[in-house]
């Protein structure tokens, strides 16, 4: 099997250098990686290791200093901000650590939001949002506002929102960072199941080695460099 044909994310020689006063901070220092379609990957590292920067780069939220980022066949480093927004709207779902639901909207409106940006009419998008909420097990909470829901429920809404567009790739930034461990496993299990069913690619950033264990592959990142790539079985065995 030709693995490169299946590659949905390719990163080549990626650098991101921040300037802090006189000093140069190398957040990413020459990263190469390839993620295949349908994979569930985790990027693991301590804080300050550059893992969040990596994710931002993959989602087109930050511009690389040097190097190539090819996601779903598109060169992100060459895109204007307008094009990046369009790229995210069409190809990417995003799950945040702090959920980032709009407080003024209820669950169904929050889930339907990406569809709104696509110009889908109200009836269609709410029907799809409702289906999504049902999928994440929140069919009884469709009219609730974020403030009326628990953290776990809010993150399920977040997951539903990320998946409603049926995106090719889902990025998750510490998706369980604000949840207790039992809820974390629940949410993560849900994400994993849905993504696998739809043959979607998922990239998750976490510092929790246990949660990273849900992934097919784990990239260990440290000081802006990938130091180790683990396949799932290997990692699981390590733990035992």
């Amino acid at each position: 099997m030709d693995s490169s044909a299946q590659a949905v994310i390719q990163v080549k020689n990626l650098y991101k250098i921040f300037r802090v006063g006189e000093e140069k901070v190398r957040a990413l220092n020459g990263v190469d990686l390839t993620i295949r379609r349908g994979e569930f990957c985790a990027i693991v590292g301590t804080s300050g290791s550059g893992k969040s920067t990596m994710l931002n780069m993959l989602a087109g939220l930050e511009k690389p200093t040097k190097g190539e980022v090819i996601v779903a066949g598109e060169h992100l480093e060459r895109m204007s901000e307008n094009e990046l927004v369009r790229f995210r709207r069409e190809k990417v779902g995003f799950i945040f650590q702090s959920f980032n639901l709009l407080q003024t909207m209820n669950a169904i409106e929050n889930v339907a939001l990406p569809l709104t940006f696509r110009g889908v009419d109200k009836k269609t998008r709410e029907a799809r949002a409702e289906k999504m909420l049902k999928l994440v097990g929140l069919s009884t909470h469709t009219k609730h506002r974020p403030t009326e829901m628990s953290g776990g429920q809010q993150q399920r809404v977040g997951v539903a929102r990320a998946l409603v567009l049926d995106p090719e790739i889902i990025f998750a930034d510490e998706p369980t960072g604000n949840l207790d461990s039992r809820t974390s496993e629940e949410v993560l299990g849900l994400m994993r199941r849905v993504v696998q069913e739809n043959n979607q690619t998922m990239v998750m950033v976490t510092h929790d080695r246990h949660l990273a264990g849900f992934a097919d592959r784990i990239f260990h990142i440290s000081d802006g460099k990938i130091v180790k790539i683990e396949e799932q079985q290997e990692y699981r065995e390590d733990e035992k």
């Binding site: 931002n56 939220l61 709207r89 069409e90 650590q97 702090s98 980032n100 940006f117 110009g119 009419d121």
Partner: protein, 445 residues
């Protein structure tokens, strides 16, 4: 994004911070109202002064004279005189609606113990109809062969008591003459009459009875165009004069070197009416090029209009200051709202909301504030305008048609202007929102 969704989101954002929205709208409201009321005052002033000019002979009429050597009659070159041909030529100038000769003669009126020297102006039917004369009794002179007189509302004051020479202005008593129904005799050959008064060998000229066709509306003290003239149909007047004077020279008409009368009748003046007041000066120039003197209210009007636009500019400027302050208020509100919503804007950017849509959303919010401020401001202006007119109208005894005047176009312009000001004020905040980094959203608190 669909327009309806943009609209919904903007509206819900405004409703989220009701108090602030209301306060900002209030600012625009006051701004719009002050501009509209100020301009309405200027327009009201302009309207009433134009009405005044209208009373003094209209905005579209031109009087054409021929002053050249008219009175040194012996040397008169008949080419320069105004005859029917000239009138026709003037009538052929573009934009001229009516061109009528004015044939004026002095006559003496006698009734009971009263006498009066009156000026009779003969004009064409067309001209008489076009002058917007208000008739209180009877009608304008009709197109008949017999001469009929139409009396201006101040003509009655020309009658004096034949014995004492007392006029109305001295006695304060209106002469006991019913112009409409009394049989008044007129003497056309006034020279002969004059001579007969002092020379008994000259026999008094023939007196003619001329029926009245109607009276002009208005009291004795009310000044109007033509209020002191007696109007008549020009053809009937001409026929009458021919009948009275036969082949001798009609007073006021030029004569040949040998003192004989010309075959044609010449006119002192031509009444010209133009289709629009903006064409008056153009037509005037044309007439002057023909070698005649033309005068109209155009210059007076131009001056008035210049003055009025100055006044409007000043008043509008005063109003504009408060709208400017309101615009700053809008900008401030929008900036605040953007700071508050930084995270939210970031989120929708990450989720793929088009930059253009973000900008539109904020511009619409600002536009809404402008629109509602403008709308309510206009309602307020109408109310203020009504009150001003009530109060001022009562004070001036209804002389002005209204000090404040809000035409429909001002309503439209004010509303569009308020929305534009709102959007302009919202432009900078909107661009700023558009450029916010999406990273702000995913930064963890």
């Amino acid at each position: 994004m669909k327009f309806s969704d943009l609209l919904r989101m903007s509206a819900s954002n405004l409703l989220r911070r009701k108090l602030r929205t209301v306060l900002t709208v209030l600012g625009v409201l006051i701004g719009t109202a002050s501009i509209v009321v100020m301009i309405s005052l200027g327009l009201g002033l302009q309207k009433s002064s134009l009405e005044q000019i209208e009373q003094y002979g209209g905005l579209t009429t031109i009087d054409v004279y021929n002053w050249t050597d008219y009175y040194s009659s012996s040397e008169t070159d008949t080419d320069a005189l105004i005859d029917d041909e000239v009138v026709e030529a003037i009538g052929a100038i573009p934009h001229v609606e009516v061109a009528s000769p004015i044939l004026s003669v002095s006559v003496m009126a006698k009734f009971g113990g009263y006498e009066a020297w009156l000026t009779v102006c003969g004009m064409s039917q067309e001209a008489l109809q076009s002058m917007d004369i208000e008739v209180s009794e009877g009608s304008l002179p009709t197109d008949s062969d017999t001469l009929e007189f139409f009396y201006g509302n101040q003509v009655i004051t020309d009658f004096y008591k034949a014995k004492t020479y007392e006029y109305y202005w001295e006695t304060g008593e209106l002469p006991d003459v019913d112009l409409m129904n009394d049989s008044i005799f007129f003497i056309f050959d006034t020279d002969a009459y004059y001579n007969s008064q002092y020379d008994s060998s000259v026999s008094a000229p023939k007196k003619y009875l001329v029926p009245a066709s109607g009276l002009m509306a208005g009291g004795v003290d009310e000044y109007k165009d033509n209020c002191y003239y007696v109007l008549a149909d020009i053809d009937a007047l001409r026929a009458q004069l021919k009948k009275v004077f036969k082949n001798s020279v009609i007073p006021g008409q030029p004569s040949t070197k040998s003192g004989k009368a010309y075959k044609d009748i010449y006119y002192e003046e031509v009444y010209v009416r133009v289709d629009d007041m903006n064409n008056v000066s153009e037509v005037m120039e044309e007439i002057q090029n023909m070698g005649y003197t033309a005068s109209s209210n155009a210059e007076w009007m131009e001056q008035t209009q210049q003055q009025m636009s100055m006044i409007q500019l000043v008043l509008g400027g005063i109003g504009a200051v408060s709208l400017f302050v309101a615009a700053i208020g809008i900008a401030n509100t929008m900036m605040m709202s953007i700071y508050e919503r930084t995270k939210e804007i970031g989120i929708i950017k990450v989720l793929g909301c088009d930059l253009k849509d973000i900008r539109t959303m904020f511009l619409m919010e600002a536009g809404f504030i402008g629109f509602f401020g403008g709308l309510i401001g206009l309602v307020l202006s109408e109310i203020i305008s009504l009150i001003i007119n009530q109060v001022a109208g009562g004070a001036s005894g209804g002389y002005y048609s209204g000090i404040s005047y809000i035409p429909i176009w001002l309503v439209g312009v004010a509303l569009v202007f308020a929305v534009l000001v709102g959007m302009l004020a919202g432009l900078f905040p909107a661009l700023r929102a558009m450029r916010l980094s999406p990273l702000a959203a995913i930064r963890n608190e």
